[in-house]
């Protein structure tokens, strides 16, 4: 015997043995899989009876039990069945999961065995001789097959086409724009919804002659005298950044934005600009900066700091009494107020060192025990104003006080304890020599408790006062110039009202807010923006008089509305910040959403725009800096290390942030 041959033989023999072994294993694995599959199916079938969501037997037992509530045997049966169903459900779930794994395992063994068998019995390639066929005939057959399938698919489409048009329900699309009140509003010119004829000059908004105020609906006559306009107006070229606004995009149907009712843009002279004296430009004399809408005029604001490490912090001064009011700055002086239940104080700090130059306690009578303010408001929520010589402050209790720069009290008067849900919190404003106080209170507007007042900053005497048809609110007014018309814009529920700052005469009003109104208005290019949670963000055309609810609201937006934080606009874009942390960027002209970004935090203080950067501080003291552009871009983030509720002040190259306990000055 040739040992070599023998070896080959025995090798072949062994391979045959292996082949047989694997074939048997494959059979076993197949049987195993089959068994598992059958058991799984049996389990699935069985578990249908134990579906906890469908238990007809249990349901009928329960109904029976409801008929015989005293039948304890029935009750026990219900409990037993309930337990059985639940147990069976979870048991069969576990069983099925394990079964699936076993099935996969069995299949793997099966496939592996087959693979092994194939490896043992290799075969030579055996090309099919029939492959070499007539190419022309083959191509013809191929074409026929393709045509057959093509016919089938075309037939399907045609069947669908034939079927689909014979249905009444497609009719709704035959009218692309629904015409809800077409007939009504056309035929009835007296209807309040019927639009006025377009006025000459391209504007379709009804524009009664100026001065014809008496004809506009409720325009309460203001009492008292008049204020003088600020002597010299600030140049408005630097704010807001003006951009040549292209024609607003035509409305897209179905968008969340209401179409702009004016197809042609108003003449370019119709611009909304800030209203403040030029002398204010180097200071921060009122809430949210000289413009009152949070636009800082500085060119090189600080961009990074850290309160805990002291990096970038020029100084930090503890403020003795708490207050949610924001610091105001004039020259090298910083003013703020603080108060608790028993005392009210005003502080003057040196802007260079942070030293408290003086602190002035304001004598106030003790509060009645019934008077309560919310913890979040505190006793000094309103920001002060200064005209460069004097500072005025108002407290939650309605006392308004004026001091000179040495801390001497010039006058004090009380507007009475406000009947306000959270306490008076609207900040003061300043127009010429008039301190503007939006003193909204009461829950029922018909009681006429709310008023807008202008007090002479020198004497505290009322220059004019006008009653407001709104309940308590917490929003601070802003001053704007719409074309040549100076206006105070006030927010209340439901009315947004514009007054002439000289005499308090009402210019226009729009009904578009609701709820507890706290955010201040903003303005941009040609519009005024107001918002509150529960209502909407509305863009109002301020070039009008009378009740413009139906004519003056250019667009509205209803998502992620602000309930505390005021919106801010750079003219082209509008930024809406919700307390819950969502920042929405909208196109100011159309209200279209440009972007949205969410920070997982809470915002209560209002944003500041410096150059192209928006500074926004959250309640934990983290200031987020992001670009006021068409794409969200975070430019930086800086921590103060202390909770913050007040809006910062940004003047020169210094940023002042009031934390819970300390005032920080940030800069180089």
């Amino acid at each position: 015997m040739n040992p070599d041959r023998d070896e080959i033989h025995s090798n072949g023999e062994r391979m045959e043995q292996w082949h047989r072994a694997l074939s048997r294993v494959a059979w076993i694995a197949a049987l195993f899989c089959l068994a598992v599959l059958i058991l799984l199916m049996a389990n699935a079938y069985n578990s249908r009876a134990n579906d906890p969501l469908k238990m007809p037997r249990l349901q009928s037992l329960l109904m029976e039990l409801n008929r015989n509530p005293t039948d304890d045997a029935l009750r026990a049966e219900v409990r037993r069945l309930d337990r059985q169903v639940r147990s069976a459900y979870f048991r069969s779930r576990a069983f099925a999961m394990n079964g699936f794994y076993l099935l996969i395992g069995g299949l793997s063994v099966f496939l592996l065995a087959l693979e092994g068998m194939r490896t043992i019995r290799r075969q030579l390639p055996q090309p099919d001789s029939a492959l070499a066929q007539n190419a022309v005939l083959a191509a013809a057959a191929n074409r026929r097959a393709v045509i057959a399938l093509g016919t089938v698919s075309a037939g399907t489409l045609i069947t669908l086409a034939v079927m689909s048009r014979h249905d009444a329900a497609v009719e709704y699309t035959l009218r692309p724009e629904p015409l809800p009140t077409a007939a009504a509003s056309r035929s009835d010119p007296a209807s309040p919804l019927a639009p006025a004829n377009p006025a000459p000059g391209g504007s379709s908004l009804p524009a009664p002659a100026p001065g014809d105020v008496s004809s506009s609906p409720p325009a309460p006559a203001p009492s008292g005298g008049s204020l003088q306009a600020p002597s010299q107006l600030g140049s408005t070229s630097s704010l807001p950044p003006e951009s040549p606004t292209p024609n607003p995009a035509p409305p897209t149907p179905g968008a969340a934005v209401k179409p702009k009712p004016e197809p042609t843009p108003p003449p370019s002279s119709r611009k909304v600009t800030a209203l403040f004296p030029k002398a204010w430009e180097a200071h921060w004399p009122v809430f949210r900066g000289p413009s009152g809408v949070g636009i800082a005029l500085t060119r090189n604001p600080p961009t990074s700091w850290n309160g805990a490490q002291g990096r970038g912090i020029l100084w930090k001064t503890a403020i003795p009494l708490p207050g949610m009011n924001a610091p105001i700055v004039w020259g090298e002086r910083v003013f703020l107020s603080g108060a608790d239940r028993t005392s009210r104080e005003i502080y003057c700090l040196d802007a260079r060192s942070g030293r408290i130059l003086w602190r002035k306690p304001i004598p106030v009578p003790p509060l009645p025990s019934t008077f309560k303010v919310s913890r979040e408001t505190g006793y000094a929520p309103s920001t002060m104003v200064t005209d460069g010589k004097r500072v005025c402050a108002i407290f939650v209790t309605g006392e308004i006080v004026c001091l000179d720069y040495t801390g001497k009290q010039l006058w004090i008067r009380s507007l009475g304890l406000p009947d306000s849900l959270y306490g008076h919190a609207s900040s003061l404003m300043l127009y010429g020599n008039g301190v503007i106080v939006q003193f909204d209170q009461g829950s029922d507007p018909s009681q006429e408790k709310s008023a807008l007042l202008a007090l002479d900053i020198a004497t505290g005497k009322t220059v004019w006062e006008v009653k407001r048809p709104v309940p308590n609110s917490w929003s601070t007014p802003i001053l704007i110039r719409a074309g040549q018309q100076e206006q105070i814009i006030t927010c209340g529920s439901p009315w947004v009202i514009a007054y002439d700052p000289r005499n308090g005469r009402e210019i226009w009003r729009a009904k578009c807010l609701d709820g507890d109104v706290a955010p201040s208005p903003a303005y941009g290019d040609r519009m005024v923006f107001v918002c509150n949670v529960g209502a909407s963000l509305s863009a109002i055309n301020p070039f009008a008089t009378g009740d413009i609810t139906e004519t003056g609201i250019v667009w509205t937006y209803t998502e992620n509305l602000a309930d505390t934080v005021s919106p801010i606009s750079n003219g082209e874009l509008l930024f809406l910040i919700s307390t819950e942390g969502t920042i929405t960027c909208l196109e100011a002209a159309t209200g279209k959403k440009v972007w949205e970004h969410h920070y997982d935090t809470m915002f209560r203080s209002s944003p500041i725009l410096a150059g192209k950067t928006i500074y926004l501080t959250d309640t934990l003291g983290v200031t987020y800096m992001f670009e006021a552009g068409r794409v969200f871009k975070e430019l930086g983030k800086a921590e103060l290390g202390e909770d913050v509720g007040a809006t910062p002040a940004l003047v020169g190259n210094r940023l002042y942030i009031r934390g819970k306990k300390n005032l920080y000055c940030i800069g180089q």
Binding site: L62, P69, R75, V78, R86, E596
Partner: protein, 187 residues
């Protein structure tokens, strides 16, 4: 060498196509991805839209469903007579099987102080059937609601429940904000 020339021309063409498609594809995709919040999206239920129809329990690709009941304690009225827990038709106010609404015994209550009880949901037992949600919405504060739990959800490209949802309550949300919790601020 026409053959060679032809070949090199073809290669050149292929090269051109390759470069062109690369530039085009990366340009288009770059433009698509540059939009804000282009991170991972996950599926979530808007509790304000949910009508507790019960499809979440049956339509999810997972069994039991990735949808579970979440309890917003800050919204809860802590009722002793909790309609998320107890059936409308009862024989007494005990939590025994005949009075309990939950088919899998996933809701437990613990006594806090008179008259308040805390409801706790055992997610290992919850199958997302929305029976408690329906009860809590009908008679209670609506503090119980369904959410897709992301420790279970496999984040299908097309959510099977979203397809079946009659109230279009399920949509994609950024993975950085994966829940739509009910607002818990009382106004």
């Amino acid at each position: 060498m026409p053959q060679e020339e032809k070949k090199s021309r073809r290669d050149f063409l292929a090269e051109g196509v390759r470069t062109g498609s690369l530039i085009l594809a990366s340009g288009v995709l770059g433009a698509l991805a540059i939009r804000a919040e282009s991170g991972t999206m996950v599926w979530q239920i808007d509790p304000d839209r949910c009508i507790s129809c019960g499809r979440c329990a049956t339509e999810c690709v997972l069994t039991p469903s990735a949808v579970k009941c979440v309890h917003a304690y800050a919204l809860c009225g802590y009722c002793k007579l909790c309609f998320g827990l107890l059936r409308d038709k009862r024989t007494g106010n005990t939590t025994a099987a005949e009075n309990n609404r939950c088919p899998t015994d996933a809701i437990r209550r613990t006594f806090i102080e008179d008259p308040y009880y805390e409801m706790y949901i055992d997610e290992t037992l919850c199958i997302g059937c929305a029976k408690c949600v329906k009860g809590c919405n009908a008679f209670g504060n609506g503090s119980m609601y369904l959410q897709i739990r992301h420790d279970r959800c496999v984040n299908c490209n097309q959510c099977a429940i979203a397809n079946a949802c009659p109230s279009e309550a399920i949509s994609r949300v950024p993975a950085s904000r994966p829940y739509r919790m009910k607002k818990t601020i009382h106004r």
